[in-house]
């Protein structure tokens, strides 16, 4: 035990006898580690936030959109062509296993008139399953029923954003909206899903059957009724890939695609989107960490600089130690432990500061931050590693000093 502790106490003495210098030496490491922890926590926080937003859409959600077919070498834009039909949706519902609900929808941009207000919005003609499939919840009022759908009742459920735009602070329930050549009555308002691209907050849901009275739903040459998207939920997340494959096969057969032809539709699962986004954000986090790591590297060079000065200044001490019987190994372990000890201290202080900073950022509601233990362990061990790496050359230099020359130095 003594053998183990003596170099440590020697290093500790070396550190505390040069307090200011030790402090300045580790400052670079403190800042570097704090920067790594803070930036990584911001990155990880953003990652977690985005993933949870997406999961909010319903993690079992699969969306089928028309598109991605090629005409004479020109790839059509997604949504630019009309290939999906109500009949496709029905076939999927009937023939693909492991699906809990299928909801086709037809989207059109319509002019809305409420009193003297006049605006444009995305109107979504849907089946009653649509809300459940898309994990949409009613905040006030009610949704429409299967019966409303059968009868083509002219009712509407509003996204929270569009409700605010159209009605301001007045209660929209029971109000009427003029939509093309029909008038619909508002029966409910949905809970907000949070701001994001294509947020359902800005759409209006009406029964698809009512929609057909407002606009003519186009038909394919074969007579199928065109839909914009088919959304569906998988009964169990583990079946997602099987379901996607089954739908792909079914639709290719129904659309009579040649084996060499590309799909004329596009299937995406929320799971897949979440994975892609989390990968992209992971890369961003890594980039942030790498930038911060540069400051850690600079801090390491600072450690080396100070250690070299320290060796020069303590040449006489090294000579005395050698005269007392210190071997080269004793000298370089002393300086190496001192460097490692300094940077370890710096690392721990840096983690504290970084953690604090990320906590403050989080509580200021600027951004969500997440400090994960792996980053903390990584940052601390990297800082010790830096100490040992950049301390090695000065330590080795110190150990090679000739005892007599070292003793004579002033």
């Amino acid at each position: 035990m003594k053998k183990l502790f003596e170099p440590l106490t020697t290093a500790w003495t070396g550190v505390i006898t040069h307090k200011l210098r030790s402090f300045l030496t580790i400052l670079g490491i403190v800042i570097g580690v704090a920067a790594v922890i803070t930036l990584m926590s911001v990155g990880r926080g953003a990652e977690a936030q985005v993933i949870s937003n997406i999961q909010n859409l319903g993690s079992n959600l699969v969306t089928v959109r028309p598109g991605a077919s090629t005409f004479g070498g020109v790839r059509g834009a997604i949504g630019g062509i009309r290939t999906l039909t109500m009949e496709d949706a029905q076939a999927i519902d009937e023939q693909v296993p492991n699906i809990s609900a299928v909801a086709p929808s037809y989207v059109s941009n319509l002019q809305l008139i409420v009193g003297s207000k006049n605006t444009n919005a995305q109107v979504n003609g849907v089946t009653p399953e649509y809300l459940q499939v898309n994990n949409l919840k009613i905040a006030s009022g009610s949704s429409f029923s299967g019966q409303d759908y059968e009868r083509g009742t002219k009712v509407a459920v509003l996204g929270s954003g569009i409700a605010q735009t159209l009605f301001g602070d007045t209660n929209p329930i029971g109000q009427q909206i003029r939509m093309g050549n029909i008038i619909v009555y508002v029966t409910g308002v949905m809970q907000s899903k949070g701001a994001m691209f294509g947020s359902p907050d800005d759409t209006i849901l009406i029964p698809l059957t009512a929609m057909q009275q407002a606009v003519a739903q186009p038909r394919t040459p074969q007579g199928g009724r065109i839909v914009s998207t088919i959304t569906l939920t998988v009964s169990d997340q583990s079946h997602t890939q099987n379901v996607i494959d089954a739908i792909t096969n079914l639709l290719r057969t129904r659309h009579k695609l040649a084996p060499s032809a590309d799909n004329d539709f596009n299937i995406m699962s929320v799971e897949e989107i979440a994975n892609t986004l989390s990968e992209a954000l992971g890369t961003m986090t890594l980039l942030l960490g790498a930038i911060a790591a540069i400051s850690l590297l600079v801090g390491g060079i600072g450690v080396m600089n100070i250690m070299l000065v320290s060796v020069l200044e303590r040449t006489r001490e090294i000579g005395i130690r050698k005269a007392l019987g210190a071997r080269n190994r004793d000298i370089w372990t002393q300086f190496l432990i001192e460097a490692g000890f300094l940077t370890l201290t710096g690392g721990i202080i840096g983690v504290t500061f970084g953690w604090g900073a990320s906590y403050i950022i989080n509580s200021l509601d600027v951004m969500t931050t997440l400090v994960s233990p792996d980053i903390v362990i990584l940052a601390v061990s990297v800082s010790v590693g830096i100490g040992l790496f950049f301390g090695f050359y000065p330590a080795w230099n110190a150990s090679r000093l000739n005892p007599i020359d070292a003793l004579r130095s002033e």
Binding site: I320, A323, L324, N328, L407
Partner: protein
């Protein structure tokens, strides 16, 4: 205990070479008290460094307690220094930021391990029990040199080498230091080799070796 055979030491000085010791033959018995005298530049410090295994001779053989240490590598020489040799320097060579006790403990640090009780005992032996926690900067030159002696003797080495131990001291504290060293020799049978310019001090010793131009020119028994 010590036997030098035809020891030479040559330092390279740029293109020229500086010969400091030319063929020194010397033997010293266990428990002897020896003074080395000579003008500056005569090579007496170099001789002491060689005896103390701080340096290696260019040629010749050095036997310490029967072992040919002139063939030892740096690590083995460090072992010899840590176990068998205590140094006392003209300039004390204490670590300024450490207390007297910590400085003495340093003498054990490379000789098997720090032992506080032994360090306190050594400080008591040189009469500094009341200065244990003082730093060198808070002590007089004589006290500092006594701390240095405590550091040298704490590991109970068979050989103590002193390089002008009183050179930086006034005559009274110089006298204290010499009496401590000679009593150590008398009580513990430590072999003591001391460089000095002071003929009075040299006459406290049993043998005086005179060096000039890198050679022993005369020896006298006191």
């Amino acid at each position: 205990m010590i036997k030098l055979e035809d020891i030479t030491k040559v330092y390279p000085m740029g293109k020229r070479e500086l010969t400091v010791l030319r063929g020194v033959n010397l033997s010293i018995e266990q428990g002897e008290l020896v003074a080395i005298m000579g003008p500056s530049g005569s090579g007496k410090s170099t001789l002491l460094h060689l005896l103390g295994c701080l340096d290696k001779p260019t040629s010749g053989r050095y036997f310490l307690e029967g072992k040919e240490v002139s063939r030892f590598n740096a690590g083995e020489l460090a072992q010899v220094r840590s176990k068998q040799i205590g140094f006392v320097f003209q300039t004390f060579n204490l670590l300024p930021r450490l207390s007297a006790l910590a400085n003495v403990e340093l003498g054990l640090r490379y000789a098997g391990g720090v032992d506080r009780a032994k360090a306190l005992e050594a400080l008591a032996r040189v009469g500094l029990s009341d200065r244990v926690n003082h730093r060198p900067t808070e002590m007089s030159g004589g006290e500092q040199q006594r701390v240095a002696i405590a550091r040298a003797l704490v590991k109970k080495p068979p050989l103590i080498l002193a390089d002008e131990p009183t050179g930086n001291l006034d005559s009274r504290s110089g006298g204290d230091v010499i009496s401590i060293l000679t009593s150590l020799h008398a009580e513990q049978g430590i072999t003591l080799i001391m460089i000095t310019h002071d003929a009075d001090i040299a006459h406290h010793c049993q043998r005086i070796i005179n060096i000039k131009d890198g050679q022993i020119i005369s020896e006298e028994k006191v």
